[in-house]
Structure formats: structure tokens, C-alpha cells
């Protein structure tokens, strides 16, 4: 080709076609190969080290965290979840998981909610202490990360009311709230804004009856702005921190934020 240029002989049509084919197909295959290589790299990229989160491909975890930051910047913290009339609520409420509730020694009567404030002081609350607070009901569309949803009816004390009543405002200034089952086998971390969302409740009733064991008796979290995986059943402890508390499903490769 170069020689032809030197002689300044105009290219024949066939030569032009051949040259343009070569360039474009060369580019096509080079970029295609690069894309394929990039894909292989991503697919085979090592899993992150398990800390607060785990088991996701490293680059994908970075993407999840960045996406969370972006959405949290542009989204509003007090968008209300749509609510429904009670008649729409499911009577057979789906039970999806019993992780953290398999301890045979657990006794509902002896249960206490242990709240550790930032000052290090501990509160030990019985279910009656919590039932004494104003009750809030919600009927909303519960959404599972698996893809199903169901309209459910819950009642309990709003987290904001709970915090105010037990004078935990200072603790609640921390960026995250950590909740764990009494046996410590299921645990979630929730960002402050979602925990203090006006529709987040500590629920002790479902369909106007006390919670059944399968639904997390005696007290569970109902947090409509999150997927079901964050709605911890049988809450044992509550704590506050500026770093992300450990989170069962985030360790299994799910997004930590899991906000809706």
C-alpha cells in the first residue's frame, strides 16, 4: 500500500474496497476481542475479601457501592411507601426464612431487646415496655429481593417514636443502626435515613395479632424502603455506629444498601 502511495497512483476501486474492508474488519475484531477479554477479566475477577460485605466480584462491589452513593445523593429520604386499605392485606403471609431463629433454647417470655447507646449504656426492654408506646399500623407491598411481593399488614412502634421515647437521639445521629437476632446468626445494618424513615417500625403485630414465631416473635423490623432481607425477625440487639455494621446478606454478595 505504501508503495502505491509513493507513486501517487490513484487507488483502484477494488483496492479501496479491500483497504476499507481491512481497516473496518480489523477494528471490529480488535475491539470485539478487547471486549471479550474485558468480559473474561470481569467474570473471573476475584471475589472481594469478606468483611462487612463479601462474595461479590471486586469490581462489581465497587459498582454497587458507587451506585448507592449516586442514588442516595439524588433521592429523597422521606418518600412515603404507598399504603393500602386493610382489606387488601394477605391473610396467609409468606414466610421466607428462619435464619437466626433456630436456637432451641430461645424463650419468648425471657426475651429482652438490648439497646446499646453510644455512651455505652445498655437498655434492656421487655415487649411490654415497647407495647406501651403509641402503636402505628401499616399496610404496604412487602418486596423480596427474589422478586415476589405481597401486601401485608403490620403494627408496632415507629422507630422515630422509639428513639425519642428512650432518649436515644444522640445514638441515632450515628450513620448506621445495627440489628441482630439473639443468637447473632442473622444481622443487618441500616443507614440512618432509612432507619428513621417515618414508615420504619418495630413490629409486634401482624394482621392484628401478636407475631407468630415464624414471623419473628416477639419483635421484628419492618422497613418498607428496603428489600425483605433487611427486615430482621426476632430482634435481639440494637446498636449504633458510623461504620457499616455487619450484614448477613451483604456478606453473601448482595448490595449493602438494598434500598427501594
Amino acid at each position: 500500500m505504501k508503495k502505491i502511495k509513493k507513486l501517487k497512483k490513484p487507488l483502484t476501486v477494488e483496492q479501496k474496497i479491500a483497504r476499507r474492508n481491512l481497516i473496518s474488519f480489523g477494528t471490529f475484531f480488535a475491539l470485539g476481542g478487547a471486549a471479550f477479554g474485558g468480559w473474561k477479566w470481569l467474570l473471573n475477577s476475584p471475589a472481594e475479601q469478606t468483611g462487612v460485605t463479601g462474595r461479590a466480584h471486586k469490581p462489581l462491589r465497587r459498582a454497587l457501592n458507587q451506585t448507592e452513593l449516586l442514588f442516595r445523593r439524588i433521592f429523597s429520604d422521606d418518600h412515603l411507601v404507598r399504603t393500602y386499605p386493610k382489606s387488601r392485606a394477605a391473610q396467609r403471609v409468606r414466610e421466607n426464612s428462619h435464619i437466626g431463629m433456630r436456637d432451641p433454647g430461645f424463650c419468648v417470655e425471657d426475651w429482652r431487646l438490648v439497646v446499646t447507646g453510644v455512651d455505652g449504656k445498655q437498655l434492656q426492654l421487655s415487649i411490654d415496655d415497647i407495647r406501651a408506646l403509641p402503636k402505628t399500623e401499616i399496610v404496604y407491598d412487602f418486596k423480596c429481593v427474589e422478586g415476589w411481593d405481597q401486601i401485608q399488614h403490620w403494627a408496632g412502634v415507629r422507630m422515630v417514636d422509639f428513639i425519642r421515647h428512650f432518649q436515644l437521639e444522640e445514638s441515632a445521629q450515628k450513620k448506621y443502626m445495627g440489628l441482630e437476632t439473639p443468637d447473632g446468626k442473622y444481622y443487618v445494618g441500616v443507614d440512618r435515613e432509612s432507619a428513621l424513615h417515618p414508615q420504619t417500625i418495630l413490629a409486634y403485630e401482624m394482621n392484628d395479632r401478636p407475631l407468630t414465631d415464624g414471623h419473628g416473635a416477639p419483635l421484628r423490623l419492618i422497613i418498607p424502603v428496603k428489600y425483605g432481607i433487611k427486615n430482621l425477625k426476632r430482634i435481639g440487639t440494637m446498636s449504633f455506629s458510623d461504620t457499616r455494621p455487619r450484614d448477613y446478606w451483604a456478606e453473601q454478595g448482595y448490595d449493602y444498601y438494598s434500598g427501594l
Binding site: R20, H79, D141, V145
Partner: protein
Amino acid sequence: MRWTHWVNFPILAIMIWSGLLIYWANDVYTVTVFGHTFVKFFPDWFYKTLHIPSRLAEGMAFHFLFMWFFALNGFFYVLYTILSGEWRLLVPNRHSFKEAWLVVLHDLHIRRMAPPQKKYNAAQRIAYTAIIVMGFGSLVTGLAIYKPVQLYWLAWLCGGYSFARILHFLLTIGYVLFFIVHVVQVILAGWNNFRSVISGFEVVEGEEGAPKK
């Protein structure tokens, strides 16, 4: 336009694959008429062959990264067709729907003559515009499922959370069908046509015989 076409191919493939990883976790869709289930999405052998089961978290992570690329690529394509004026060749005009039928008959060898066309025939105009509308639909329904609280109005617009998920699924099935027809048509159209989608020109035999852009 060629660029976005070829960029879209792997992105859509990844979106469909990671979408399957997600769908598996709640694979409830079937085609059922009068109590008889004709198709179940999807049978076990299908999942097993593609190694789909128990990868929900991984699927979500992939899906929520490549969604950005899918959206950006679509945005660039639409921007380009508008700026270049090529949309005039692509968007169906008032004759297209009648002509498209003739094109289909012609392609099925039922009718001998195809109606006159410019760069794209009437059926192509409809198909290539529809696929963009579908892409936009996937984006909208996807967002409605992804952030149904923040974007509650989108979820409402899509007929609610569950219905948005069904639409999102159906659109994906639509892409697969489009892909099959598309590939068959490309094979029938021949090498010269295929090359043009990569290199940007077609060789036209004739007196001029010059490469045509």
C-alpha cells in the same frame, strides 16, 4: 450507528443473562390457558444447561452495572439518529404499516414484488423503531422495579410493581424473538449487507461501481 449496534449486542446479552440469574429466584411466569400450562419459564434443563440456579446476588450485581451502559448506549444511538437526520429513514411513515404487510408477504415468497423502499423497507422501519421503543420500555420498567419507592410514579405508570416485572420480562422475550428473526434476515440478505454493518459501505455493482457510503 454501527458502533452503538455492535456495542449493544454484548451489553444486551449480558443484561439478558444476568436477568435470568435474577428471574430464577422467583420464576413464576407461565403461559396458562384454561388451567393448562403450555409453557413454563423456564424448565429445569434450561437453567441447568446455562448454570443459572442460585446466582441471584451475582446476577443483580452484573445487572446493576451494565444497566448504565445499556442506557448510555441507547441514549447515544437516539441522539445520533436525531442529529444526523437518519431518523427520517427509520421512523415509520403513514404508508409503512400497509407496506410492511406487503414486505412480509414478499419475504415469505407469497408475493413477487416488494414495494419500493429507501434505505430501510417498511417492515424494517417498524421493527427498528419498535426495538428502540422496547429498549426504552425496558429502561422504564426496569427502573420501576429497581426503585419502586423513590420512583413510585414510574411503578404506577407501569401498572404496579408486579406488572412492571411482567412487562420487563415480556420485553426481554421480545428481544430474543427479534434477535432470531434479525439473524435469519441478515443471513438471507447476504454478505455484502452484513459487511456494510461493520464497515459502513456497500459495494454496488453497476456503471458507477464506486463505494457508496
